[in-house]
Symmetry: C2
Subunit: 402 residues, 2 copies
């Protein structure tokens, strides 16, 4: 049977993150050790799994079948004020004129915005490098990606203005601990980005999955959304990293005029979110001291980041470049220009059973030559980090010379 699947789907491919993890696990023997630095998963020990069990019993006792009935397309009404409180705890992010819709993680929010805004051939401005699942989603929707370089303090403003002059449906940015680069955009740049968006009337899609995972640097930089006076910023958050990714509980916060469109989209695409996870997240936000919780998990992440960084310092070839991150989940490292990240990562996955993601697919156009690799420190144990980095260290010497 020739199914004639649409080209945009045929051209889309399984994320390199999944492919490299699969490769490391392929035909694994029982006694072989596998270390995955490839995922974006939070630490198991940072996830409140016992609370989830407790809250499940609690909400079922309290709300009965409502917990497992159909929910509304927009989301669980009691969750919205809790999210607003959470978002605005350090300063006003969600304005009076803003409203919310609950999505299956920020993934679905990204796809919903892509579907609503992009027509085939439309330009979408993205940081380069950026989150590959977002660019995959925009490409699936037909976008022509317009890459803008990123400096150490965030997107390059001149390049962004140049890109905006050509018009675009929106600008997608991860201002806090950008994935994969772990770069944070400075306050000045956030203001400049907002000004440009207003000047060129190009909406900003602000993705903030990692903002609360800061373990050093210690400064709160307000999201771009907090400057928003005219509903030009669409802000996406998720409880994947601070509660659990398996809740698939993300949200889009945008001008209330816009939300009903996404409610219709949810009706068409997946018919509303799972009530259970929304009830659990509501309980969590109501009952847990969120600042204390974030402080607690930040320690876990810092310890792991430091373990990885220190071991890299000890074992990696000195020509490899990287810095100790101040938050997030990743170390973004650069091998010498002569080394192809894909060769390095395929070798590591196949022969060491260590999964590290080559940087290629995070760059627009997935250039064949790329010497960056992304290392996740949040999910593996410290023991696995030390074992894995030592092995990878040996590999850097194979690739970078003595």
């Amino acid at each position: 049977m020739n199914y004639r699947i649409n080209e945009n789907l045929c051209q889309a491919k399984l994320s390199i993150i999944r492919r490299i993890s699969d490769l490391a696990l392929e035909n694994k023997q029982p006694d072989e050790r596998v270390v995955l630095f490839s995922s974006g998963q939070p630490a198991d020990e940072a996830m409140p799994v016992e609370l989830v069990k407790e809250y499940t019993a609690k909400v079922i006792d309290e709300y009965g079948c409502d917990v497992i009935q159909y929910g509304g397309h927009k989301g669980y009404p009691k969750l919205f004020p809790e999210i607003r409180k959470f978002l605005n705890k350090d300063g006003e992010v969600a304005k009076e004129d803003d409203d919310f819709i609950i999505t299956y993680g920020s993934s679905e929010a990204i796809f919903a915005v892509g579907s609503a805004f992009i027509k085939p051939g439309d330009r979408v401005i993205v940081e380069n490098p950026t989150y590959l699942n977002a660019t995959n989603s925009f490409k699936y929707c037909g976008a022509e990606l317009v890459p803008v370089a990123v400096d150490a303090d965030g997107v390059n403003i001149e390049a962004l203005e140049e890109a905006m002059k050509g018009g675009a449906r929106f600008f997608y940015t991860i201002p806090n601990f950008g994935n994969p680069s772990s770069i944070t955009m400075s306050l000045e740049k956030r203001k400049a980005v907002y000004k440009l968006a207003v000047k060129y009337q190009i909406p900003i899609l602000e993705d903030n999955p990692y903002g609360y995972l800061r373990f050093s640097g210690n400064e709160y930089i307000p999201p771009i959304k907090s400057f928003d006076q005219e509903g030009i910023v669409l802000y996406m958050g998720t409880f994947s990293k601070i509660v659990a990714p398996g809740m698939r509980c993300g949200f889009l916060c945008a001008n209330k005029e816009l939300i009903p469109k996404f409610v219709v989209f949810k009706g068409v695409s997946s018919s509303g979110n799972i009530n259970w996870s929304q009830y659990i997240v509501t309980e969590f936000l109501k009952n847990v001291d969120i600042n204390a919780h974030i402080a607690k998990i930040s320690v876990i992440y810092e310890d792991k980041a430091r373990a990885m960084y220190n071991k890299m310092k000890e074992c990696f070839h000195p020509s490899v470049e990287y810095t100790m991150p101040q938050g997030g989940m990743f170390i973004w490292a650069k091998l010498p220009d002569t080394v192809k990240a894909t060769d390095f990562c395929l070798d590591a996955a196949k022969n060491l059973r260590i999964a590290v993601v080559p940087g290629n697919d995070f760059f627009c156009g997935s250039p064949e030559d790329c010497s960056y690799i992304r290392l996740n420190f949040s999910k593996p144990s410290v023991e696995d980090i030390e074992y894995g980095i030592e092995k990878l260290g040996e590999l850097t010497y194979k690739y970078c010379g003595k």
Copy 2:
């Protein structure tokens, strides 16, 4: 801010099911009684909510954080063999060459197939009337709907062949207790439909949410998928009606060559399903005697259907036509041609606070003149059914004369 949302989303509207329910609830006073015959929700008393609580504790004790981590895009591997066993319990439906992907209810499976197959302007053949969320989804994807009439024993075969001659991306059908009509397609017609699909090489999208909710007639009619020798049938099932809709656990069963495409789609659109609900459904399928469970809930549904039917016989104007259903969740009733269903339903919602869905949007093109109404009997209590039908009965006399 002018957001310039895509036309297909702007044209899509919130389902009449939600709108009519909202209307009945609008500005409700505390002492006012509201009855919703508008939903497609299962009966609360048919949902194993205590088991969900028990299984949640069990799987968290057994699998820990895996229950709330990211899941695979395809779904929870242990769920697949359980679905296969379930699907094939009365005869082979899923073949050796078939594979599965888990979706957020059948809603997401419908949308995924629509997205994968439909390009703007493509023809999609649908039964007329049919499930409005499916046609909304196909229209969102750009489909030109080709309606085919339905007889008492299922789709009209001659009309279907005529439609297929013109080509189409697929034919969407609900052969068991079609929504809204509650019509079941005969075995002969299923075979004929399959033959036509093969002849014209037009895939069949077979949607079977209600097939297990048969409480009389007592015959098992194999799904069209069970005749499938060449992977031309894409079969969609869901645990919404036999476990709980809030699990948002549906699936697509199709040739294994096709599934990887949908895995990519899931990666792009929502990044995999919630593990929790897949773990719960797996436990359910492993531990519960599924035939006994279905028999138990069938009694609940039959009692409610009979309560509604008997009360309609007693209270409705004799010119209203309907039959006692043999399964499913709905009575599909026809008012006299002179009565506009929308007038009737708006009146009921606004003035009686009883939500009944007018049939218009279930028909292609949502004709303004339609005298059908859809009444859900599964969700309201028997007491609410009797109260609501009595009130609606009075309204039929207002609209149909003495």
